[in-house]
């Protein structure tokens, strides 16, 4: 049922020429996906997809749409070749599915080989009820480090691509007022919600060991809170609370914290990211390690998301000013 909804949304996206609608639909697509992930027992993934896919990515798309034309130009695209490629890909995929283990089959090789150890032993080896967190932060902690670095790399990319000089900033700010100065109801409600959002982010950050959640989701929610504030109260006010340079430093700091934990492990005699050595008791060491690296993840993700939003918004301000 959900899958059919998804298919419908996707087809609608191909047909629409209005990019604004396309972006909204893709947000809906993400949200539907999140529900589907939930249905497939992937709570952490659902949480991330909802906050990242439906939240931040839609937001970034909208921020871009403010800067570029809203309608797709109807042009003669070359559907024949594209359709050909797609059909070949599809044929290969369908062909590949023929020998797949069936959906939900408990005897599939996936459930026989590596995963049982995570499910059976992680409680003794890592000591967290949320197996996803154990695998994410400890067994495959290095992948997660890589992923934080990917986020950092994207942050660096956007920072370097969308730079606005200090001079333009100073001049533009005096001329361009914040968009939503007059939305009184919005501002009041946002003021009520903001502390709660931030507290919720912290809850997600530190409760990730026991339930769905963790650094990524927390980082994104925290960033969402700040972004909400920025949208309503204007860039200049936000930036006097949170210095952009400071946020940029924070993006780096999260990565440093994460990889620093690994290096400390090495100095203490373990392998890289082997948290066992962090404390006299391995399980305790694991706890400490996971806490720290999740914090690193949260800091980098939040800082990068905030920076992304700042950069896009500055670009908009600059454009307005230039006009």
């Amino acid at each position: 049922m959900l899958l059919s909804f998804l298919a419908l949304t996707a087809i609608a996206i191909t047909r629409m020429g209005d990019l604004f609608a396309v972006v909204m639909l893709s947000g809906i697509y993400s949200l539907l996906s999140a529900s589907l992930f939930l249905d497939l027992d992937a709570v952490d993934v659902a949480f991330t997809e909802a906050s990242v896919g439906a939240g931040i990515s839609t937001l970034l798309f909208l921020a871009t749409l403010k800067l570029v034309p809203r309608y797709e130009k109807k042009s003669r695209y070359k559907p024949a070749l594209a359709l050909g490629v797609v059909i070949v890909t599809g044929a290969l995929l369908i062909y590949g599915t023929l020998d797949m283990p069936h959906f939900g089959d408990a005897d599939a090789p996936v459930h026989q080989h590596v995963a049982p150890r995570y499910l059976n032993d992680s409680i003794n080896e890592v000591g967290l009820p949320n197996v996803v967190t154990s695998v994410l932060a400890s067994y495959r902690g290095y992948d997660t480090l890589g992923e934080v670095v990917v986020v950092f790399a994207a942050g660096i990319g956007v920072m370097s691509l969308l730079m606005v000089s200090q001079r333009t900033k100073a001049r533009a700010l005096t001329k361009v007022p914040a968009d939503m100065q007059h939305q009184i109801i919005l501002r009041i409600v946002a003021k009520m919600m903001l502390p709660l959002i931030l507290i919720f982010a912290l809850y997600v950050q530190f409760h990730g060991d026991y339930g769905p959640g963790g650094g990524f989701q927390a980082g994104v929610i925290f960033a969402a809170g700040i972004i909400l504030y920025t949208m309503l109260f204007g860039l200049s006010l936000t930036q006097s609370v949170i210095k952009p340079v400071f946020v940029e430093m924070l993006t780096a700091f999260g990565v440093l914290l994460y990889s620093g934990v690994g290096i400390v492990c090495m100095i203490l005699g373990g392998n890289y990211l082997d948290y066992d050595v962090l404390s006299h008791d391995p399980v305790h060491g694991q706890h400490l390690g996971i806490l720290l690296i999740e914090l690193g993840v949260g800091i980098t993700v939040a800082a990068v998301m905030i920076t992304l939003f700042f950069k896009f918004t500055w670009r908009t301000v600059k454009h307005k000013y230039n006009q």
């Binding site: 939305q183 919005l186 409600v189 919600m193």
Partner: protein
Amino acid sequence: MDILLDILSWILLISGSFFTFTGAVGLFRFPDFFSRTHAASVTDTLGAGLILIGLMLQAGWGLVLAKLLLILVFSLLASTTACHAMAKAALKSGLKPLTYSDQENSAEETTSKH
């Protein structure tokens, strides 16, 4: 007592679903943006609200109840504000509500709410 709660909660759930459904129908059938917003906000407030209360009755005392309560509070706050902001933005960007002269009398009551 349990049966009473059960019945009550089912009544709430069903009426909630009904409002959600009418909201969806309204979204498609209403003539202009503002009346459609009205339909959509019915889904968010009355529909979702009743369903959540119904669920709360099912949940019994505990953490789940608290969580549902929080969800209710937040969805009431957020969705109404969002609807308001949307309508205001539409008005600001130059979209005028339909009036008598544009449409038969049915449009009037929905538009005047905003």
